[in-house]
Amino acid sequence: MATAAREAGAGVEVRLEDLRRSYAGVSALNGLSLTMAPGEMVALLGPSGCGKTTAMRLVAGLEEAQSGRVMFGGKDVTALPANKRDVGMVFQAYSLFPHMTAQQNVAFGLSLHKVNPAERNRRAGEMLELVGLSQYANRYAHQLSGGQQQRVALARALAIRPTVLLLDEPLSALDAKVRTRLRDEIRRVQLEVGTTTLFVTHDQEEALAIADRVGVMNKGRLEQLGPPTEIYSRPATSFVAEFVGLTNRLAGVVSDGEVEVLGIRLPLVQPDAANGPAIALVRPEAVSLAANSDVSGPLVGTVIAVSFLGALSRVTVGLGDDVTVLAQLPTSEASAHQSGSRVQLTIRRDPVLIARDETTAADV
């Protein structure tokens, strides 16, 4: 089965060149360029309205680009309509055809591609087996749960052996538990079939967990594209730093390639930053706490709240002058601190990103 499934997607290079699209004069996509290696899964991550879904719809051919090109395996498909592009797509909304069974849904695309009935049924069955739903082949959409419907939709999209697989927030409508399981399932299937995949999501955990590379989008532009670890640990802009994971914004002063924050000097991600006042973006996990009621100083404060997150806990510490710092600690350590207790902060000397003011996305 896996071997046969692997036939499904000979991955091709996908290149987006300077794609632009606006609606009623408002720019939704502002010059997006992106190259995906054959078989790669790239996640486009960003807040609502950042242009990620527009980008996907341009790739699918469901919208027309006002300028720029979409290339599949070196072939320009920009002018092709959606039904000629050879893409498989899974939508955020449940998209199974309600009047067809799961098997018929998966076979639908194959019948349009003039695959003979015997082969059609064989491949539909194979795809349902790939997503673990063989036993539900004769059920209608309304007889399947949300997670099952999205898996059938995935099987349907892959059955036509598409050049590119497009996943438009396919997990958004599902509850957290099913979402996590299906997320891993999607990655497993994508690795098996090897189809180049573009995955759109606003959920950073989802994007970081399954994509080979993550592209963070903001206001129609790609702020940063890179492996998940790079996106998280070396964000290129303050927007990326703040969107991907929690970030403390602490006032400081840049000098000699470092920034001085709360009396300590931290290295910069980009040491050539100009000297002067700046906002340092410090990850909560770089902050640790020690109980101390005797000393005073800029790094001593009072615990305002402790939020239990499971294995980790988040402690909010007030330092006076309306400055608060978040620290993310193992719950075993955090439990030593109660609201109102005095603590001393330590900030790990990880390279930090700086922003010059509240509105500047990246100004290093």
Binding site: S95, H99, L112, H113, H142, S145, V178, I210, P227, T229
Partner: protein, 286 residues
């Protein structure tokens, strides 16, 4: 719901059902009674009026013409309205209100005003195209539009037409395939509703046909009524029964499918294999 409340509800339902049934059936029963009266008050019942239906050539022609007009109008309505409404929903949502207004407009214009409006066109068509009664279907198309629009609009609102059509397009379907294999099967109930309403309007139409000097079913009934009241009543009962039969077809063929999602079933674990995800989890240093 407790037992006494359920009982009260059932009694209420049966009462309403019987009251409404009586309201509809008594006039029909009276018409049946009248159409089967003998020549005198004491004479035996007779089906003469009913057999007269097929013996009256004008009546048969009127019935056939109305049935043809009903079929043509229904098909033309679907061909014109359904793709237009789908297109407006998908591509021109800003025009939705305008199209709705235009489609509902005939509802507020008196039939007599419409007839006066179409009279010159009708005369030109009769002289230059054909004198056939089937030309009436052009005007009937306008008449049925408000009713059909409402039925189709409700059907379109009940399905996620945008996602379904985009899913079909991404799988390789052209627009014709999207319409015939995805949209139409999912709104068969609404299409049947719209068709039934069109048929009912056309079968009951009198003003247009009479004033434009065509002889459809209703006009023929009036003519026959001047000669034989019982025969005209028999035809009226027959057309009512025909409409009821269509309603029965609608309720059995177009019954909407239950669309309730089942609770999440556990997703079977994939066959044991390790995912090469070790370098893509949060917090793993590069």
């Amino acid at each position: 719901m407790n037992r006494s409340r359920r009982l009260r509800l059932n009694i209420f339902r049966v009462t309403v059902f019987l009251a409404m049934g009586t309201f509809f059936l008594v006039p029909i029963a009276a018409m049946m009674e009248f159409s089967t009266r003998g020549r005198s008050d004491t004479g035996p019942r007779t089906m003469e009026a009913w057999t007269n239906i097929i013996k009256t050539p004008d009546l048969v022609a009127g019935i056939l013409a109305s049935l043809e007009l009903a079929a043509i109008t229904s098909i033309a309505m679907l061909v014109l309205l359904l793709p237009t409404m789908v297109w407006v929903r998908l591509r021109l949502p800003a025009l939705h209100r305008i199209v709705e207004f235009l489609c509902l407009l005939p509802l507020v214009i008196p039939a007599i005003a419409l007839v006066v409006g179409v009279f010159p066109i009708n005369r030109w068509m009769r002289i230059n195209i054909s004198d056939s009664i089937l030309l009436l279907s052009f005007f009937y198309l306008v008449l049925v539009m408000p009713y059909s629009y409402r039925a189709l609009d409700a059907g379109l609102a009940a399905i996620d037409i945008k996602t379904l059509s985009e899913a079909a397009r991404s799988l390789g379907a052209g627009w014709f395939t999207v319409m015939m294999r995805v949209i139409v099967p999912n709104m068969s109930s609404a299409i049947l509703n719209a068709s039934l309403l069109s048929v009912a309007v056309v079968l009951g139409e009198y003003t247009f046909a009479n004033l434009l000097t065509y002889e459809n079913l209703q006009v023929a009934i009036v003519y026959v009524g001047e000669v034989s009241a019982t025969t005209s009543i028999a035809v009226a009962v027959a057309s009512l029964l025909f409409a009821f039969a269509l309603l029965m077809v609608l309720s059995f063929v177009g019954r909407p499918r239950e669309r309730v999602a089942r609770p999440e079933d556990p997703i079977p674990a994939p066959a044991s294999r390790s995912l090469p995800l070790s370098d893509s989890f949060i917090g793993v240093p590069k």
